[in-house]
Amino acid sequence: MIKAAPVQRKFLTPGVYVLLSIVLIGVFFAVRRFLFGIGAISNLNDQYPWGIWIAIDVASGVALAAGGFTTAALAHIFHRHRYEALVRPALLTALLGYTFVALGLLVDLGRFYNIWHPLMPSMWSGHSVLFEVGICVMFYLTVLYIEFMPVVVERFMGRVALPGWLAHFKGVVEFLLRLFDRTLGRVMALFIIAGVLLSCLHQSSLGALMVIVPYKMHPLWHTPILPLLFLMSAIAVGFPMVIVESIWAARTFGRKPEMHLLSSLGKTVSVLLFVYFSFKVGDMIIRGTVPWLFQPGLESFMFVLEMVGGVILPGAMLLSSRIRHSAPHLLAAALLVVFGVVLNRINVFLVAYKPLYATERYFPAIGEIAVTAGLIATLILVYRLMVTVFPVMAVETESDRSVEEWAHDVETKRADQRMSVPRGNTAVTQRRDS
């Protein structure tokens, strides 16, 4: 089991006040939307029914939450236990990321109160890509909450303290926690696999969404392999998100980042990026869209920016071991990957989308930007709050030992346990330990 503890830090800092004011501005516009309609705060119209709420809040949000399933797969399916320290922060990001995708949708959906309709068998729509995305996201969100349960159990089991009359329920709550504790461990594997499967399905289907508009999309992005490209880029951006978070969290909470783990993730990322890049280029050559690159205009500029700034540059940076082992450089490379994927989602959903009878280009209104910024600020605040309440961050609270030492401890302990059981690999273990 991972050893993690709540972070002990003051919650209210100047940064937090800035975030709070961004949240308030967002709330102001969101309220206007519920009073006067989507049109009152957005530039959405019949030409551009989708704007940044879909491209950023939903598409980028889902992609950037991919760290949850990639680290879960790495640590729990491929059993690279040393990465376990990264699983909980990534899980929390995914959990909050998807929750905020849902919240963002409540603003964007015209009839938000019907958001549960896809669950009704009478309305199932098997041929709709969006239906698959919706169902998978709902299930995955549930899986994420289940995966997070052990953290809650760990925090509260045996120390439930309820105020006032609620104290009567203490026994019940304790019982439930203990029940979860006993059962969850046994079935968790099923949920972890389901989470990875559901992620693969909806990450790719998000790309399939735009396959249906061959006549309205720029050829640089419109390809039948969009689902595959979306899946690959989501997997590629999973670890960079973990890197960004870990280094940032380490900074804000004044701890050492787990550089040892992060830099080996960085190496993985460079390979993933180059595989993605070769698919992208191969697809362009096969479909003969290369000439479009040389057509001056916003589209070709954005495409080159996305590919050079978000794929080639970070891919090349991460090849260098010196860059991988320096926190600021690694952070920069990881941020570039994140930038590249967000830009890709914006390009696919907005820049490439050309209505047949467009009179003017879409550009987000202040209200749209405010709502999106408000959601992101809320997410950061809730994340901050959660890590101070729940044991998410892998830290040694009593001493200042780095996580690497901690990870080493865990390994040694594991090795010790294993020594007593004669096995094929005991020799290896012993050699290392002696």
């Binding site: 690279r80 015209g110 009839r111 309709h117 698959e132 696999i193 499967l197 693969c200 689902p227 290896v428």
Partner: protein, 311 residues
């Protein structure tokens, strides 16, 4: 199972996830031949009186009602699109100097993109050919608007709580009473003909054969995006009247093929699930020796495994 076998299996599972390739030969799974009703628009007869617009507003209780406002020909100065308050508009084009008028509305596609896209089946291609909308199902995601190849559905962006997707209804209530759509009934020059789609196509071709100088030899909507219930005859290609240039393949073809091959009897997802489970089981003890190889070796291994599942 050694690593090489693993990779092979990965490849096999992965391939099922690669859309298009595996299923390219499948016919479009959702395709459904609907032999319903339709309307034939003979643009060479239209006089641009805009009475159909007025009748449509009357029949569908749309806001702009007085007949006089439709006699205003200044509407032709710009190319208008149907919107939430106008289900049909008549546009004027002058490809060769002489004005040609063409009525625009939902084409009631044979294989509608909007219905394929809709997440909750709020759009439905009925057996009589009408593409109907049911607001009570709709959750307002507007994917239907994104997907329509004719850019037809419009949205009530200023309605805070109960916005609807709006488009030509084919005057469903009138049809149920056995009457023709309002626009067809009012047209003073019989530019619009209402009837069975297959008969209209035959009629259109007869007209072309009888008057080869009057018409180009193409019925717009006979094959476009798999065919539409509304059909157009014209003296110049419809693209010159600002109609979109479209291929014959139904728009939902590719996405539905992808969808249906990924979810073929749920085999690919279940296979992936079982496969991931197997990796989980097989690698449960392996981290020990992997650790001993040193961190970068592990990372490289992780790359291989990670990359493998995804491709």
């Amino acid at each position: 199972m050694d690593r090489r076998e693993f990779t092979k299996l990965l490849g096999a599972t992965g391939l099922a996830l690669v859309p298009g390739k595996a299923a390219a030969s499948d016919p479009h799974p959702h395709a459904r031949k609907v032999d319903g009703i339709g309307v034939l628009v003979d643009t060479t007869l239209c006089i641009g009186c805009r009475k159909c617009e007025w009748a449509c507003n009357q029949s569908n209780n749309l806001p702009e009602q007085p007949l006089s406002s439709f006699e205003n020909k200044s509407a032709f100065t710009s190319n208008r699109r149907p919107d939430a308050a106008h289900y049909t508009v008549v546009n004027e084009s002058r490809p060769d100097g002489e004005p040609i008028w063409a009525k625009v509305q939902c084409m009631h596609c044979q294989d509608p993109a909007c219905a394929s896209a809709c997440i909750v089946t709020a759009f439905d291609k009925r057996d009589d050919g009408v593409v109907a909308y049911d607001a009570s199902r709709c959750m307002g995601c507007r994917y239907c608007i994104v997907s329509c190849p004719f850019q037809i559905p419009a949205y009530e962006y200023d309605n805070a709580l109960t916005p609807q997707v709006r488009k030509c209804t084919f005057c469903l209530e009138r049809l149920d009473e056995g009457r023709a759509p309002a626009c067809v009934s009012i047209c003073p020059v019989e530019c619009l003909t209402y009837g069975r789609r297959d008969e209209l196509i035959a009629l259109a071709h007869r007209k072309i054969a009888r008057n080869p100088d009057r018409y180009i030899d193409h019925v717009y909507g006979e094959h476009e995006v798999g065919g539409t219930s509304w059909l157009y005859l014209s003296s110049v290609p419809m693209t010159e009247l600002d109609f979109p240039e479209l291929g014959d393949a139904p728009v939902p073809c590719v996405t539905e093929t992808i969808q249906h091959s990924i979810f073929k009897n749920f085999v690919p997802p279940l296979a992936l699930y079982a496969f991931l489970g197997q990796i989980m089981w097989l690698t449960r003890d392996r981290e020990q020796d992997a650790e001993a190889e040193g961190s970068d070796a592990v990372a490289t291994q992780a790359v291989r495994d990670q990359g493998g599942t995804t491709l």
